[in-house]
Amino acid sequence: MAILVFPSLAPNPYILSSGVIVLNWAVLATSWNFVGGFTGYISLGHGALAGLGGYATGLLITKADMPSFVALIAAAVLVAALAVPIGFAALRVRGASFVIVSIALVLILLLVFQSWSSVTGGSRGLVVPRPFPGMLRPEHHRVFFFLYGGLLLLALATWWLLDRSRFGMGLKAIREDEDKAESLGTPTFAYKLTVFVISAAFTALAGGLYALWFGDLDPVFQFSVLTGSYIVLMALLGGVRNLYGPVLGAIVVGIALEYFKVEFGNTPLHLVTTGLLLGLVVMFMPDGVIPSVTALVQRLRNREQSSIREVTAADLAEQRKREREGANS
């Protein structure tokens, strides 16, 4: 809804372009949440997957002469395929080791894309041709705003579908106790890999769309740990167990980032504020805003409410006897 009316309300192209950026974050954070939210594997490397998506789109357009949007889809498929071996290596390890591997992924890709300049353009960057040449900039923003909006809806719908499904239940079981889940018959590795690939595909779509919108790719910015950590911050802030959590987080953090830039533009204090924000979230709302607020509301409404119904051994025995009698009669 808001997505539909925002472009007509935006007072100028700058606000509209900020809107596109925020939506980009929202798609990224939602895509991240396929892995982070369901399986509990925290990846700081999703920035690199977006970067891969962007570069793949750009290279397919420039080197293979594909039409822009065909290239976008092809790039997502390509990245999804690439996510299989990446996931194969990364998902073998759990917890902290996985985080390290995800950081390593970013750094490796940065090295490769920087050094392999004959293909990627190296640190000179890659210029992605405009999908709508000749379109004026404000119009261009509007089109991409709707494209991102559509992608976000698609990602949200997929997340919702998984969340309520048995497949999603299996993933959540993995998050809680992987060995136990496996012993209950969940093919944990296949599940993790599948959801990682889904996540990578959506991330790559967002990255590819960004490449089309933005036009310039530079390895330093495409493969940055910072991007990945903003994504994590957003998802965490909103709440990873909630459908709209990452979107909310993206809106809050995305706007905050723009605001910091305007406020503290000429000092590195934006890093400090981001750091403080992340710290506060981790310390005081590790479950995110949405769950924290719901919990608070619930507590205000009826204090000391406990989900455990209390029964004594005598009650239980009584109950049991009644059951038995019921069964007999």
Binding site: I42, V93, A104, I108, V225, L269, G275, L278, G279
Partner: protein
């Protein structure tokens, strides 16, 4: 000739890597904390060394008199104030994020205080060197290497031979049980963290002797250091040292055919190879437990 020179350079570099990885080993392997901010503290220490030299004109090595206790204190505070408040169940994950936040804050403050300009300490003996079997050995690099060796040895003895080391490991593995045998877990964990940061102070000073520093430099160090502790076996100080030497040497030698950029990939190749073949690490790692 070039090969031998590279071997010498590689070993000296490896020594520095070993020292820097030692602190990480401490938090990660023993305390289950992924300390992303370690290299940020490293840069902070390097900046302090640079600053004392720049302002007061004294030898950067002397700055350790202040930075080591200062960092120790900061570590204790950090542990008590932040990390000890995280839920044990999500400690590892959340510690990544909280220390990441700290790294950002440090980087931002450094940029604020000293601007983004690259800095380098100008030492009278900065370009001095001597010859060793045909290779040149720079004095500053040797000093850094010496610092690394001494601190690593101290750390090893402390962890293995003293009661503090035992108490620290016990605290991390089962805090309640540790309290029940009479360990002051809060103080122990705080000291453990302080110790890790103290190694960052030493490492940062060593680093500042022969390299340029700038606020965002810490990103550059995170990858190789993380790779080293994984290859070395999480939690094993000797493992980290061995891995650091081997990888430092490999990087230095690979630079001859591959150039500086591609040579860096050796860390990541080693990281993935380790995870594929021996997830518990090649040199240490006693318990083949997956995290």
């Amino acid at each position: 000739m070039l090969v031998f020179q590279s071997v010498v350079l590689g070993l000296l570099l490896g020594g520095l890597y070993a020292l820097l990885a030692a602190g990480l080993t401490l938090y990660f392997g023993i305390m289950r904390v992924v300390m992303i901010a370690h290299s940020a503290f490293l840069i902070l220490a390097a900046y302090l060394a640079w600053w004392t030299n720049d302002r007061l004109g004294i030898d950067p090595l002397l700055s350790m008199v202040v930075t080591v206790p200062l960092f120790f204190g900061a570590g204790v505070l950090l542990q008590r104030g932040l990390l000890s408040r995280l839920r044990p169940a999500t400690l590892t994950m959340m510690s990544v994020l909280i220390t990441f936040a700290i790294a950002l804050i440090i980087e931002g403050l450094l940029g604020y205080a000293f601007t983004g300009t690259q800095r380098r300490i100008q030492l009278g003996y900065g370009t001095a060197s001597f010859e060793l079997f045909g290779a040149r050995v720079a004095v500053v690099k040797l000093i850094a290497f010496g610092l690394a060796v001494v601190s690593l040895a101290c750390l090893y003895v402390l962890m293995k031979r003293t009661q503090f080391g035992w108490a620290l490991r016990a605290t991390i593995q089962h805090p309640d049980a540790a309290r029940l045998v009479g360990i002051d877990t809060e103080r122990t964990a705080g000291f453990g963290f302080g110790l890790g940061l103290a190694t960052a102070a030493v490492g940062g000073t060593a680093l500042s002797l022969d390299t340029t520093i700038y606020p965002s430099l810490h990103w550059h160090w995170i990858g190789p250091l993380m790779a080293i502790i994984v290859v070395g076996g999480l939690g094993s100080v000797p493992g980290a040292a061995a891995a650091a030497l081997v990888l430092g040497l490999a990087q230095s030698l690979l630079q001859i055919p591959m150039g500086a950029t591609w040579a860096q990939t050796v860390f990541y190749v080693a990281l993935f190879a380790t995870l594929a073949v021996r997830p518990q690490g090649f040199f240490g790692g006693r318990l083949a437990q997956r995290f």
